[in-house]
């Protein structure tokens, strides 16, 4: 049993980050851990920055982690992953990031001079920034992979699968699968398939 394990999930409202935090929390709960989740979200239903924190371990009480304490980063959107750099740790953090950008409305509006300072940065640049702040980084093009499964809403579960393949992750795939069944209200079978595809991709990258 680990004493403290912190997962940071960064994404855009509507991408399923909050649901993913519930799935990981449930998997940790099934595995017998004390669990806490927290989230930072804007006022809207969708499209704002959303950060979720999942913490589990024998010593965990706070819903928020300290800066620099992330064991894992799951980035559903590259810009949003860069926004949570202060939680990352070069010596510890394992990152899985989706490389497909969702530009904020303000970036499109940069065509007008008075709103012109918010151009979406180059994705490779963003990935490099993340890479230099984590121990290991795995980059996927999630939505492209999900087209094959007609599962565009399952980016969260795909990235979970990739992350779950990493040996430093303390929870079992069986726990995640059970958590997916408990937490998701819709498309459980499809999401289990997507999770396993994520696992396969993760193992392939890791050459396991």
């Amino acid at each position: 049993m680990v004493k403290e394990y912190n997962v940071i999930i960064a994404g855009v409202g509507g991408q399923g980050g909050l649901t993913l935090s519930r799935v990981i929390a449930e998997a940790a709960f099934i595995s017998g851990y004390e669990v806490r989740t927290g989230e930072t979200l804007g006022m809207s239903q969708r499209y704002g920055s959303v950060v979720s924190y999942v913490r589990f371990g024998t010593e965990v009480k706070s819903p928020l982690p300290t800066y620099g304490s992330a064991n894992a980063l799951i980035g559903l959107e590259p810009l949003e992953a860069v926004r949570v750099l202060r939680y990352l740790n070069k010596e510890v953090t394992i990152g899985v990031v989706n490389a497909e950008p969702i530009p904020p409305v303000l970036s499109a509006l940069s065509v007008v001079k008075k709103w012109g300072s918010y151009t979406y940065p180059d994705v490779n640049e963003l990935i490099n920034i993340i890479r230099s702040n984590v121990k290991e980084l795995y980059v996927v093009k999630g939505y492209e992979i999900l087209k094959r499964f007609k599962a565009s809403r399952s980016l969260n579960i795909l990235l979970l699968g990739v992350y779950a393949a990493h040996p430093s992750n303390p929870l079992s795939s069986k726990a995640y699968e059970e958590a997916i069944k408990r937490v998701l209200r819709r498309d459980v079978e499809l999401n289990l398939k997507v999770f396993n595809e994520g696992l396969r991709i993760g193992k392939e990258i890791l050459k396991l």
Partner: protein
Amino acid sequence: MFITLRVWGVVMSSHKLLLPPGSKALLMGNEAIARGAIEASVKVVSGYPGTPSSEVIMSLSEVANELGIYVEWATNERVGFEICLGASFAGIRSLCTMKAPGLNVASDSIVSAAYSGVEGGLTILVADDPGPHTTQTEQDSRWFAELSKLPMIEPSDPQEAKDFTKLAYELSERLKLPIILRTTTRVNHTVGNVSYGDVVKLNRVPKFVKDTQRYVRASMKGNLARHKWLNSQLGKAEGIANELGLNKVLYDGKVAIVTSGVVFNYVYESIRKLGIEDKVKIIKLGLTYPLPKKFLLNELSNSDKVLVIEELDPYLETKVRALVHSEGLGIEVLGKGSLGIPLEGELTPSIVAAALSKVFGKVVREVGVTEVKVPPRPPPMCAGCPHRLTYYALLKSIRKCGYDLSEVPIMGDIGCYALSYEPPYEAIWTEHAMGASIGLAIGLKVSGYDKPVIATIGDSTFYHAGIPALIEAIHKNIDILIVVLDNLTVAMTGHQSTPESEITETGRKGTPVPIESLVKDLKLKFFSIINPYNIDEAINTFVKALKIRGPKLVISRAPCALLVIREGRLIGNKRYIDHDLCKTCYLCITEVGCPAIHLIIKDGKKYPVINEELCVGCGHCDYVCPFNAIKEVGGDG
């Protein structure tokens, strides 16, 4: 939310809030409060949606029919509180939920309730929002306990959220007073492990005993007597709270740390990480009004100094300082200023760890991460949001009437439509408090402002607090245009039902109260109902309205786009941009501001593209495109 469990070999489906005593589950703080209410045998639950408090009623409404209890949203917090108070007068346990500003709405009634007291236990959940994450102010509602003279208790995590909710009813019935259960976002929205307790068995028949001195506030002599009664009840609060175990102490070192709520967790983890358990004594207060003085004095009697670590105002600090001074303890009290703990924003484990390491001369390992400046992502109105089209039509109509946008104020109100303050519309000039748009517009007119003034208000906000101001506008013949943005739901807080809904939150058949039925006999100078997706009609209607003097009302009605998608429908056919026809004028971006449209670079030129996944076919971009470059997907081009 629904899980399957086996009881005596029979598979039955049960909601996670209804698992048997001794069960363990992962619950969000608000679900835990709901479970606490179930364990306390609460029979009447009311309130008004408000982040971060809404999930209590949302989750209870899922089991209300099974439990045979009343769980419904009220028109506003005050009505909700009065429903609960009425039930409590009859000996029935009740729960009222609200966010901090809702407490202000209900406050007239709550302050009087301290004088009447209750028979059946009554808990008022007040969810504060340090941060703030989703609230107009960082109101510290702990002061309201002192003002209203009602006991306040504060849980620190989901387990305590459940336990304290249940205990609140015992405290409430023993003191015969409503109890304020004060939480913060990090308690309401945290998910954590919860162990279930027994469900209290109560078989109460509602019985209201006439007692005029107690329930009629018309006798000043009676009010004076009840005030004396209230003060004597408050004197008993600490004893009962200590008996119920609401205040706790951890470790036995010489430096006392007084804290409460979620901050306790930050203090606890920091102390463990710094390895200073032997140096500190954590005094965690569950009862934060009235201050548990005996408990504190006893615990502080052999302390060398006291640190008070709390979020927002120095509420506990002020009280602890006064206590230490008046009792002549002669020990140093360190709080906000001396510990470097901010008065604004929420605390974090990092802030608390830094403050403690300074006091104990420890070094926290700094992690050298540099922040990188990236474009912000303020939440926009959703793709296809009907509010976007209403504001678009309003801004167009103002210009069509020959005014500059800078001379026609649009008052905003509380709801998703307040996001119209963002580019590209930058539409609303104010967002103040529930229902304030209309009153503020009236004030501007009566002050002599000679250009048109517009008040925009959502449907639920209109029911909540807009109606009295509308009456004022009509009675005084005020020349304003009121636009009710009616998306048939309380969207921002998670799509709760409104008085317009045919089905109530728990699935009962309701009698819809349409807005037009409230205004049809009023002497409005102009009244119309429009569909904002009919853009030309919307603009023409607003132009007509702006040209008429006097009180005018337009209902702009279309269901929240997210509800349309949830039903598997679209507003119209999805669109795409034909780049052969696109002249890159970017009007589809600058006139619309839709999150489904972004830019790509093609042949060295920036082209707008529509994310087909996100497009819901509202046709707004199509309408503004002067070159017919925006086409319907699957259309004949």
